[in-house]
């Protein structure tokens, strides 16, 4: 076990020397030249062994995106069913961005589109349409991103 560990720690160096010796044995006629080549290669490798600096972090996490940006869904004033998923069942008002989890642009667009939709007669104004109350929930208003202000 101990031997193996020591071997592992020296792996890159050991491996190279082993390869060199095997090659020297196989080609006895031009053995000296091969060894020289190997020496050259090893000297080159020593330069390459220096720590590499990467331009960016390969383990960096991907940026999280909001629901609408991720799925690429466009908000449309005629699509009242989608718009009403962002409306409270109890008060009929649009949920705030700390509940919907949308980015600033999408949230602003949502509020505008809902206003247009209500004006154009696609969406009820004071309530959520009872037809759509049982639609799947996109977010949980009781578990917001940030605490409610209650203001």
């Amino acid at each position: 076990m101990l031997r193996q560990l020591s071997r592992f720690s020296l792996t890159p160096f050991l491996h190279r020397t082993v390869v060199a010796s095997s090659r020297a044995c196989s080609s006895t006629s031009s053995g000296s030249s091969v060894v020289e080549e190997q020496h050259k290669a090893s000297s080159k490798c020593s330069d390459d062994d220096e720590p590499i600096e990467l331009s960016r972090n390969p383990y960096e996490k991907e940026r999280r995106k909001c629901l609408l940006c991720k799925t690429g869904i466009e908000l449309d004033y005629k699509n009242a069913r989608l718009l009403q998923q962002f409306v409270s069942t109890f008060s009929g008002r649009v949920y705030d961005r700390h509940i919907t989890g949308l980015c600033d642009h999408q949230q602003n667009k949502l509020v505008e589109t809902i206003a247009i939709s209500r004006k154009a007669g696609y969406m009820p104004i004071f309530v959520k349409d009872p037809k759509y109350v049982r639609d799947p929930k996109l977010f949980d208003p009781l578990r917001p991103l940030r605490p409610h202000s209650f203001a």
């Binding site: 999280r64 005629k78 209500r118």
Partner: protein
């Protein structure tokens, strides 16, 4: 000329009357110099809120939705809208401008999810922030009070072992 979408909701009509109403609405748009690109029927739907038909005073709960895609100038749009709204067979008319170019934006949810100290908007506020004399004094007094509240020595000496 910008593209407008005219939503026309009629009261409940027979098929012949519906055709008449729609041709009338289309002619109104054409008279105002519109170029009609497309006419769509969105079907017979429940209205989101009750409407009352003109003249007869019947309440309308479900009706036909129609959509006119028309290129026209903004003042002509207003005139056409008033005429269509005063039509006896329509219940609701609205003209909505469709945006031609979508604004470029980047999703900033990652920024929102950061703790406030790391958020750029908060950092900007902090840079601009200037404390007045009294606030500075208040903070100093508060910290001083906290510092003084820490006991420096035991009020009664601990028993010896």
């Amino acid at each position: 000329m910008p593209l407008f979408e005219f939503t026309v909701i009629t009261k409940s009509l027979s098929k012949a009357d519906l055709i008449k109403t729609l041709t009338r609405a289309g002619n109104v748009l054409l008279e105002k110099g519109a170029v009609i690109e497309k006419v769509e029927s969105l079907g017979h739907r429940d209205l989101p809120y009750k409407k009352i038909a003109k003249q007869t005073g019947d309440s309308v709960y479900a009706s036909n939705y129609f959509l006119f895609h028309a290129h026209m100038s903004s003042p002509a749009r207003l005139e056409a809208k008033t005429i269509l709204r005063n039509d006896l067979d329509t219940v609701h008319v609205e003209a909505v401008l469709t945006p031609t170019e979508k604004p470029e934006f980047e999703c900033n949810l990652e920024e929102i999810l950061k703790p406030p100290a790391e958020r750029e908007s908060v950092q900007k506020l902090r840079e601009k922030q200037r404390l007045c004399h009294f606030t500075r004094q208040l903070i100093y007094k508060k910290t001083e009070k906290e510092w003084k509240a820490i006991p420096k020595s035991y009020p009664i000496a601990p028993p010896r072992d």
